[in-house]
Each structure stands twice: as C-alpha cells, then as structure tokens.
Symmetry: C2
Subunit: 431 residues, 2 copies
C-alpha cells in the first residue's frame, strides 16, 4: 500500500482504509488519487479493514473511545481514511454540529418526534467542511501542494479556508457570473480564485482537463481526483446523528440530493455502525429531497426508472443545482431499498419552509434546508413519511449565504417615528 | 427572594444567583427586572452565593462536573443565573465555540503562543447568542411574554432566533436605514421588527420610554431591563477559554470594546475561576480594542483619564460603534489594574486584519474581529503585548455579516475562457 511520488517514496497513512474499490464491479485498487474504475468506469470508494466477505465485524473503536474524543469529526477518526494523529494537524476541525430537538416544527408538521441536524454550525457554515477535511488529509498523504475544486459557492469557501489553515496553496474555479457575495467569500482566504467564462458544467470539464495536464501536477481537486476520500466525510453526518440520539439510528431521514453523494454516504455510515455493532440493527428509511427546478432524481423515482435523465437547472436552491447527478442511480436504489422515496418542492415552497424553520426553531437555513424541510412537509401530507416514527431532517447550510431567497418576504413589520403614539398606532393594535 | 407577578406568585429560580448588587456602592436588591441602583444610579450586576466577604470559596461545581456537561454554555450552569434544568428547556444552546491554536497567525505577528477564540460558531454567528440565552432565562423567570431589544444587527438576529425557539413573542427595534441584509436576518425568525426613523441613540431612548409604558408590560428588553442577567453571558467566554487551555488563564487577552460590558465580564469570569479554585491564581492582562472611528475608551486610556468623552461613531466596525459606552470607565480600570491597555486601529487596518486572519487560519471574521486582530498586531509592534506570553484574541462575529468591508479587496485572481492556454497565460505564470 505504498505509492511512489515524484520526489520521495512515502508510506501512505490512511488509518483503517486499505484500498479503493469499484462500486459497480468490486475491482480493488491501491489507495491513490484516482476516482474511476479502469475496468468498468464505475466510481471508486474507500474500502476498510472491516469490508469484504472475509473481514471481521469487530469495531476498531468503542463507543467510549469515540465519546472521549474531540468534539469534531475526528472523534470518528478510527472509521475514516485519515491517520490516527489527524486531530493534531492544522485543519478546520468541522462537525459535531447540533442535533436540535425540533418540537415546535414537529407540532406544525404533525410529527411525533423530529430532530434537525444543523450543519450551518460548521466553520464555513456548510456540510462541505466535513468532506473537504477528509480530502485535505488525502492531499497531504499524496504530497499535493495545491487544493482545488470547481464550485458554485459553498465548496469554494470550504476549500479556501481549509487550505489557508493547512498551509497549502489553493486555486478554486467558479463560473465568472457568480453572485458578488459568493465571490467575496471564496476569495477572502487569500488563495487563487479563477472565474471561468462559462457554465458550471464548463468549469467542471476544464478541471478534468487540468488534472491531465502538467499545470495540474500535485493538485488535489477535492471533488474530482480526491473524490473517493472527500465523499467519506459525509459518513460523519450518519455517525453524529446516531451518537447524538444515544447510539440509535432514526427511523426516517430526509437528505438533500445534489450529486447524490451525501445521501449514499449517510447510508454507508448507518450500515457501518450496524455492521460493527456500534448500534443495534434496525430498518431505516432514507428520503431524497430536490427542488422542482432541478429534480432529475425525483422525476426518475416517480417514473419508476433506474436511470436519471439530465436536466438544465432553474431553481433558487443553487447548491443543489446539479442537472446530471453522478450518484443519482444509487440514490434511487437506496430510496427504494430502504422504503424511502425521492420528492421535490417548488421554489415558493422552499421559501416558505425556510421561514417555517426559522419561525419555529430559530434556525436560519440556506435554500437547501428549505428544500429538505419543504419535502418533509410534503411527505407527511402524502403519507410517505410516518408521523409516528422518529424522524431527522438535514439542514446542510446557512441562510446568510442565500439571503436573496427570503429578502423580499422578510421585511419590517412597521417603520415609525420614535414615539409611543406612533408605535401604538402602527404595531400594538395589530398584534 | 420571591417576587409577585401580576397573575401568580412565582418562586424565582436563578440557580446560584442570590441578589443584584450595585457595582458602584454595593447596595443589594432582590433579583428582579431592574438594572440601575436607586441609591447612586450605578449599574446592577448579579451576585452569587460565593460573593461577599463572608462567603465561602468552595466552588459549587467541580472541573469534572463541568467537563461531563453539554458542549454549550450550560456546562457552566452552576456558575450562571439560571435554573439547574436550563439545558432541557428550548433555547439555542450557544457556546463551546472553538479555541483555535493559531500558529500561522502567531508566526506572522511574531508571537510565541496564540489562540483565537472564534465565536462565529455560535447559532446566529456572534457572541450575542451567549448573552441572549441568559436574558431569555430571566425573561422566563419573570413571566415575560415578549423578548425585545434595540439593535444595529447581531443582537436583533440573536433575540429573534432565541424567542422563536423558546416560543416567546419578540419585538426588535432597529434604525430604519439599516442595511438590507441585516433587515432580512432580523426579520426571518417571524417576530416583529420595527424600524425607527432615527439614529441608534433615538432607538435606545424610545426603548427606555417603552419600558415605563403599559405597552411594554411583561416585555424583557435583553439589553435594558434584563441587562444584569444578559451581561453574565459573557463570563462564559472566560470559562471556555480557561477550560480549553486545560484549566489555565492565559497571560494576555485582547477583547473588543463596544459598551465595554463583555470585557468587564471576562474579567469577572477569570476572577471567579480563581476565587473558586477552578484554576490556579495568576496575573493576566486584559487589552481593549476599538476602531479609530469610534474610540472613546482608547482615547481616554491614552489621555490618562478616568472618564470617557462620548463621540459620534464613524467606522466600518458597526457592531462596536457605541459612541457613549456605559462600561467605558470600568474598562479603563481593568486595563490599568491588570497591566493591559486600550488601543485602536483604522478602518484600513481592520480590513487588512480580517484578510490576515482569513489567509493564515481560515477564519473569516466580521469587522469586530478585524479590530481585535489589528489591535493585537499594533500592540506587538508598540511593545505593550509580550510576544513570549500566552495570548488569546477574540473574534466575536462572522464575516458573512459584514461582507461589504472586504468585497472591494476580495476579487478573483483572473477571469478566463475555459481553456488550458488561457489559464497558463493568465494565472500559472504569475504564481
């Protein structure tokens, strides 16, 4: 499991990870900066000591060891492709975000037991800090000097911040017509930010070219050549939810679907916890949530198809606006296998759901959180979610990043002169 | 220690708090929704079982009990004016934010040991969640139905969110010419938001009138009639810093100064930890940080005065823009007594410091964080901070809330067509 780099022969340290394994055909590869199977072009994912038919089912870590770890994702380092001393290296230490008992929202939706897993509490205020933190360790392992990605917002900030703290260079690629606020966030960390005159798809294609060019030598593109490691970061959402519920998997969980990677890794995380005996085995249902303006997976689910027809996104939920989601077929498979579903809501429903969550629980979600809460409401109404079962809904980002979505609706109740009479007339009588 | 409310006789439960005490003359009052001494008009603060010359010095809680508590400010509930079951009530559970070991920033500033206490990780992304959480418990104790405040931004969001989750009404008063983004943040939680045609000072005066009027009956203004409780929330910054350093008070700490309350309560927190034997007794220096465009305390410090001359604020650090800071004289006293100082920096230095912190540690601070980091740099240069001593600098808010401060400086490195040739020409040759 050692790779030769250009300058030195380095022993890689990925903790309990032992190989990359093709999700389609199972072919195994040495741990390296690759992401697609050369046999069948299927996606590669990280395989661990406990994977495979012959592997033991003994957890490398106990609940007690995890609980005594740091209050971030590194408490699960024994279950992640990272070295055992990862917590002592400079990184953003994301995770251990709040699992909020949402009794007010549950009452409004007619659900008995509901929690919101609120990932807006991460260092750059989205779940992307989790996946970037794992990709960063892979970049260090492979001796890369530059962290990179294509992004439409959240990922750009997460990569820029992580690289700054780790002392790596960064170079982030975005469509040049991005909103000013996102450009500011993406560039404040001092790395290189390159606007590409083109769509997000064109940015992606450019990054793939760059990986094959000497210009991109020793560059880690977190969501391309480091994607197998990157994806593992989403498992920590499953681990945290289970631990925060008292080492129990919820009955139902609603997850946003962009590329679909996050949903598949949450399923992987729950399965690992069961396999390793860290939680009791039990059934759970995973529901996917999309915005109607970019709902290729929901459309395929409803049509009973196994493949996903690409679409051209048109929705305010820009962080979910991937028209050709790589993991779409796996999302369909997981939703059907677990007894879940994939559903979508309109932009108007997204805005109403953002407001509902803010008004009931004091959580200001980005549009992706409006999508999951809106879809939850719809799933209760159409009977696909059981209102008596223990339910978790994800908020993966922060409302401060998508202010425009609600600014037209969120206005002052009144504007008055500074006098009690004016207040009495304008507000008190209406309340 | 029981107060009669209009409807019922309620036994108040403020945990270890036993009275309000005048900071100037020491006169004691029953715990109630009052904030000024009727003898001398001095500010009232919360007194505990361990205060006073005759009180014992035994801590009501041990380090171990604290460490086994929740990962939020309620781990210190035994040292706060809150009931013992506070963690089970619906609130935002702020605190336990990261104390980031800032080796990169330390190197740039020429300091041996530096940590950043990063309060942007709080639920509404500023330290205001700490103070509002304590005020909320007071409001519940007093049977108030509405949470209120005057605010120019951070506090409005913190009050709106906390009230929403607690199931209280809220009514927040702001100057009507506030930035759109802050209006959105303040109103999204569904409470009443009232714009006042006037300055922040006029908003404040209006709130004071409202407290005396039947219209404001059973209203808790967190920063007026609940101020003694509210202020105690800032003690948790001192507790967390000491615990996160391994139960040790740092040698030097740099704190932003708006009203000055936060700085005085951090001093109070350190003194309590020493008195109760939770940390070893040792000297520490507290430094106050202001923006030059609103630096009345720094000006008084430099002039050797005990009183603070009010100013008209003109700075991008709007969350610190209080021209007549109520606790200014106490800040002067603490800075001089501990061997610290009060210093100020220009708006240009604030912007540079925001970028420095982002570039070195991946932390995107609001302007107030630029003020503290900028002042730290200045204090190293002028020799007032000892570069060999253990130093902590506060970031009290999030860069997403003050994007305008850096948006002109944070631009893409290049904008190119999606081709390797264009990239090679525009960027790679410059790197």
């Amino acid at each position: 499991m050692a790779l030769a780099t250009a300058e030195t022969t380095t022993t890689l340290d990925f903790g309990p990870a032992v190989a990359l394994s093709c999700r389609e055909c199972g072919t195994r590869y040495d741990l390296g900066p690759t992401f697609a199977c050369i046999e069948c072009f299927g996606p590669l994912e990280v395989a661990y000591t406990w994977d495979g038919p012959d592997a033991g089912r003994t957890s490398p870590v106990t609940r007690e060891q995890i609980a005594s770890g740091p209050t971030n994702i590194w408490r699960y380092r024994g279950l992640l492709p990272v070295p055992v001393d990862v917590a002592s290296k400079p990184n953003l230490a994301p995770g251990w975000t709040k699992l909020v008992k949402a009794d007010n929202l549950a009452r409004e939706l007619g659900i008995r037991s509901l929690h919101v897993k609120d990932d807006s509490g991460n260092p750059t205020h989205s779940f992307k800090d989790r996946v970037v933190a794992i990709a960063l360790e892979a970049a260090r392992n492979f001796g890369f000097h530059t962290l990179s990605c294509s992004s439409t917002g959240n990922l750009a900030g997460a990569v820029g911040a992580a690289a700054a703290r780790a002392g790596l260079d960064s170079c982030v690629f975005i469509p040049s017509n991005l909103e000013e606020a996102k450009i500011t966030m993406a560039s404040v960390y001092g790395g290189r930010l390159v606007g590409i005159e083109g769509t997000y798809d064109e940015v992606n294609r450019f990054c793939s070219e760059l990986i094959g060019d000497p210009l991109g030598d020793k560059w880690g593109f977190v969501n391309v050549n480091l994607r197998p490691y990157y994806g593992e970061g989403s498992k920590t959402l499953a681990y945290e939810i289970a631990e925060q519920l008292g080492w129990r998997i919820p009955d139902q969980i609603i997850v946003p679907v962009a590329s679909g990677s996050q949903l598949t890794k949450i399923d992987k995380g729950f399965k690992e916890l069961i396999k390793l005996g860290l939680v009791d085995d039990k059934p759970y249902k995973i529901f996917g949530a999309q915005a109607e303006g970019c709902s290729p997976v929901s459309a395929a689910y409803k049509a009973g198809l196994d493949i996903v027809q690409p679409v051209k996104p048109d929705t305010i939920a820009k962080s979910l606006a991937i028209g050709n989601p790589a993991d779409g077929p796996y999302v369909l498979d997981i939703a059907r296998r677990t007894g879940g579903a994939v559903e979508d809501v309109t932009d108007a429903e997204v805005v109403k759901a953002i407001q509902l969550l803010a008004r009931t629980e004091g959580i200001f979600a980005e549009t992706a959180g409006g999508v999951t809460v809106g879809v939850l409401r719809k799933l209760v109404e159409n009977g696909l979610v059981d209102p008596e079962a223990e339910t978790v809904v994800l908020n993966t980002g922060d409302g401060l990043k998508t202010l425009d979505a609600v600014s037209a609706e969120a206005r002052p109740t009144a504007v008055i002169r500074p006098s009690l009479d004016a207040f009495r007339t304008a507000v008190a009588d209406n309340s």
